[in-house]
């Protein structure tokens, strides 16, 4: 009964969304602002209905109501409560409802928050967002109904895949969706601007914080996915170039390019057509990502079973891309900016190169992901394209980006004289050389890693010197202490210095990734109390321990870790046996230091009280995770920034055209 009420809520949501698609245009045509306001209200009402339907589904999970087929598929009675709630997005139908819920929330925020501002385009922003709502709700009401009932009612559920019973895995989908859906907002504003013919930069400045927030969510969502893969899957890596991982990476790459090129649009009125293209691509790649996950067209670890909604997503993607580009081409002649980068040695050029590299990497990832299909279509052969291809092509491009970051910070807008540039180059270049030489002295032999360390040293020095100089200048100008000057510098320009912190995080991430070039992989059979030496550690196996943890039986091998004859840690690599799965899961044991991770996987328990373990020494993994707090701090500072133009021109006329 209550589940049927949930379905009725979804029907109501569909009704108000349809209202929100057509009525705004009606309001514009009839010059009736009340109609537009009613559509804004309908959008907020949509959130209420979708939230109510979601609450019904969550209730079913909490009380283990297995008459709901989706709850039966993804939950079980013995599942811990937190995972029961997270199972909402543990399967296809629920994750689609979750997508709709997040989009409803963001749409309501836009409808409510921009009731007075952006008056010219808000009707069409509402309309575009509601078009997406109509599509998602259509799927939810037909093929992908998470509240579908089944009978007879089974006694217990199939259970959540134990691999997903991990905190990072519970948080990973919501964060990714916040990112994917978040990019819908700048997309909607861009489309509304094109529909309306309002071709200034307001859509960019208005949606800047949405873009930053979405970027942050996508970044952290992917890092959490990587952390989960590292800790749960046991092969020692964190990125597999799986089609669905690539599907999340591509909009992140174009979204990052977009974040940078809108700066050129705001400052110099450049790249207006290109920014429109970038946001269309970013939103399109988000939809493509969803399509790849749900269609079964490409083999993937994440892919839900092949379903009927694949074709629906493909049609939606095709129509959306066609419509968006039609709108863009209609206005393109009026959008094209007259300004261009004047000389090669300018910051504008580095921004162009930034975009070229990011979109180039996105193209590479896209090519590698769809090439198997292309090969099959054209030649009938099946091909595999995995890490070796992706790593070979994207690594040099990524390293080029790392170097570009340093050069861009050094170089001035419009024009930089070469002697001036060379002078500023000296100290960071020296720092880079020291970093590379120092790493070589510490034993690093991999040429690629040394290159990364050298460039990272250069770029980090450029960033820190730039910041230090700005703080010093402010301290001198305002005659205040250095700490006060630091705060003042950041608060006067949060976007720039938030960005700087994020860039420092990027440097840390690259340093951590470079550790892959010189990691060690070993395999040993350990007998009780017999020490084994590996990479500077001594491992002593002390015995097996079997215990029951929540809904799994854990077989753990206790291993003491010694370094320089001192006990530094006791780790317990284990295998978990779940009642619903035939094969055990690996619980990896990791002893982490800043310099390296000692990564131990229990491969097998053997006769005679011995165990076989796989031991990896993964250098600099902790340095890569350092990026996470830096990204958070930097994004927080940058999002807090309110575009000055918006507040200043509150009284000005808004009807300015390019």
């Amino acid at each position: 009964m209550i589940n049927d009420i949930g379905y009725v809520f979804l029907v109501a949501a569909m009704a108000v969304s349809l209202y929100g698609v057509f009525v705004p245009h009606l309001g514009v045509v009839r010059n009736n602002w009340n109609l537009v306001r009613s559509a804004q209200f309908a959008t907020i009402l949509n959130l209420a209905f979708v939230a109510a339907a979601s609450a019904v589904l969550w209730r079913a999970f909490v009380v283990s109501d297995f008459s709901v087929r989706f709850v039966w598929e993804t939950s079980s009675r013995d599942l811990p409560l937190a995972y029961k709630l997270a199972a909402f997005w543990g399967g296809m139908d629920g994750s689609l409802l979750f997508w709709e819920l997040v989009l409803a929330g963001f749409s309501a925020a836009v409808a409510y928050g921009y009731q007075r501002s952006n008056r010219e385009i808000i009707p069409y922003v509402i309309a575009v967002l509601n078009v997406v709502h109509v599509f998602l709700l259509f799927l939810l009401l037909t093929w992908s109904n998470p509240l579908a009932i089944q009978s007879p009612v089974p006694l217990d559920g199939r259970g959540l895949n134990p691999l997903l019973q991990h905190p990072a895995m519970a948080a990973h989908p919501p964060l990714l969706y916040l990112g994917y859906v978040g990019f819908s907002i700048p997309f909607a504003f861009a489309m509304a601007s094109l529909i309306r013919g309002k071709l200034d930069n307001d859509w960019v400045t208005t949606t800047r914080r949405w873009t930053l927030f979405s970027w942050y969510a996508l970044t952290v969502g992917q890092m959490l996915g990587g952390q989960w893969a590292y800790e749960e899957l046991g092969w020692g890596g964190y990125w597999g170039w799986d089609p669905v991982e690539n599907a999340a990476l591509m909009p992140w790459l174009t979204g990052t390019a977009f974040l940078h090129s809108v700066i050129l649009q705001e400052k110099l009125n450049m790249m207006k057509v290109w920014n429109m293209t970038l946001i269309i691509l970013t939103f399109g790649l988000s939809v493509l990502g969803t399509f790849i996950v749900r269609s079964g067209v490409l083999n993937s670890v994440h892919a839900f079973a092949q379903s009927e909604i694949g074709p629906a997503f493909l049609i939606f993607l095709g129509l959306m891309l066609t419509g968006a580009f039609l709108l863009l081409f209609r206005r393109m002649a009026l959008l094209e900016s007259r300004h261009t980068a004047e000389t090669l040695a300018s910051k504008e050029t580095t921004f162009l190169l930034n975009n070229l590299l990011f979109v180039g990497i996105a193209f590479t990832v896209f090519l590698g992901t769809v090439f198997p299909l292309v090969a099959e279509a054209l030649r009938g052969t099946k091909l595999s394209i995995q890490a070796p291809f992706f790593n070979t092509i994207t690594a040099p491009l990524g390293i080029a980006l790392l170097a570009l970051l340093g050069v861009c910070t050094l170089i001035a807008w419009r024009h930089s004289s070469l002697p001036h540039l060379a002078r500023n180059f000296r100290v960071p270049a020296a720092a880079g050389a020291v970093a590379a030489a120092g790493s070589a002295l510490l034993g690093v032999r991999s040429g690629a890693a040394l290159t990364v360390f050298g460039i990272a040293g250069f770029t980090a020095t450029v960033l820190l010197l730039d910041f230090a100089r700005a703080v010093r200048v402010r301290a001198r100008q305002e005659e205040i202490s250095l700490p006060a000057a630091l705060v003042s510098t950041v608060t006067r320009n949060p976007q720039r210095y938030g960005g700087l912190v994020i860039h420092l995080g990027m440097v840390a991430l690259f340093i951590g990734l470079a550790g892959n070039y010189f990691k060690q992989e070993h395999s040993f059979t350990l007998s009780r109390n017999q020490p084994v030496s590996v990479g500077g550690y001594q491992l002593v196996y002390k015995g097996m321990k079997v215990e029951q943890v929540a809904n799994a039986t854990l077989h753990g091998a206790e291993i003491e870790v010694y370094r320089n004859n001192r006990l530094v840690d006791t780790i317990k690599p284990a295998r978990s046996f779940y009642p619903t799965q035939p094969d055990p899961l690996n619980e990896v044991a990791i002893h982490r230091t800043l310099a390296e991770d000692l990564y131990v996987v229990l491969a097998s328990e053997n006769a005679g009280d011995t165990v076989t373990v796989k031991v990896n020494i993964n250098p600099l993994v902790m340095v890569a995770w350092l990026a996470f707090p830096l990204f958070t701090l930097g994004a927080g500072i940058a999002i807090w920034y309110r575009p000055r133009r918006l507040t200043e021109t509150a009284l000005d006329s808004r009807w300015s055209y390019a």
């Binding site: 010059n31 602002w33 309306r196 993607l317 580009f325 209609r330 769809v370 279509a377 055209y657």
Partner: protein, 196 residues
């Protein structure tokens, strides 16, 4: 407050004729076409390059009996070579089909040899499976190195090969075999292979 009028758009004829517009539209069409094609293929089914080539010979001792068999020695009669395992769930449903093929084509008409090789398996569970699902034809185990499986490019079970009387692999079936498929090759003498 009334919304202001929209900016005039460029005359449609100009941009509709631009090569940029049509290349973008072409790109979108190609993308949709590519994925539509993707709906017609199964990424899990990989065509085998061994079809049309001589079957690799091997020597095995019968698990459920005493016969010693060499594949090369079976030349002159077609062979239905099935790979299975006691831990393979999909192999359960095809056991009956293979047994029926054995009874009809091997025992009754003597026109076929049915062989089942269990991979990554042990004698006791394999025999138990055979007994439970009624497989009485020639069964054997692959060795621990998986030499036979490697020679046949096995990447899962069940997989079945039809080898003709001259020792050439005519077709490979991925997944549980069907009576239709067996009839096509054993009775109707089909020589082409659809590996999708």
């Amino acid at each position: 407050m009334t919304p202001p009028p929209s900016q005039a758009a460029a005359p449609a004829s100009s941009w509709l004729r631009s090569w940029k517009f049509w290349s973008v539209m072409g790109g979108i069409a190609a993308l949709v076409a590519l994925f539509t094609f993707g709906f017609t293929t199964d990424p899990k089914k990989v065509p085998s390059p061994l079809v049309g080539l001589p079957a690799s010979s091997f020597q095995v001792r019968q698990l459920n009996g005493t016969e010693q068999l060499s594949l090369a020695g079976l030349r002159g009669k077609p062979v239905l070579l099935n790979f299975w395992a006691s831990w393979c769930v999909a192999c359960r449903e095809e056991a009956a089909i293979l047994q029926q093929a054995h009874l009809t084509y091997e025992k009754e008409r003597g026109v076929l040899r049915v062989i089942g090789i269990a991979i990554q398996d042990k004698p006791e569970p394999a025999l138990a499976f055979a007994r439970k699902y009624g497989k009485t034809y020639f069964l054997a185990l692959d060795n621990e190195q998986g030499d036979i499986g490697l020679a046949y490019g096995l990447y899962g079970v069940p997989e079945t090969f039809f080898i003709n009387a001259q020792g050439i692999i005519v077709c490979k079936k991925i997944g549980p075999v069907t009576p239709e498929w067996i009839r096509d090759y054993a009775e109707r003498g089909k020589t082409t292979c659809d590996q999708s």
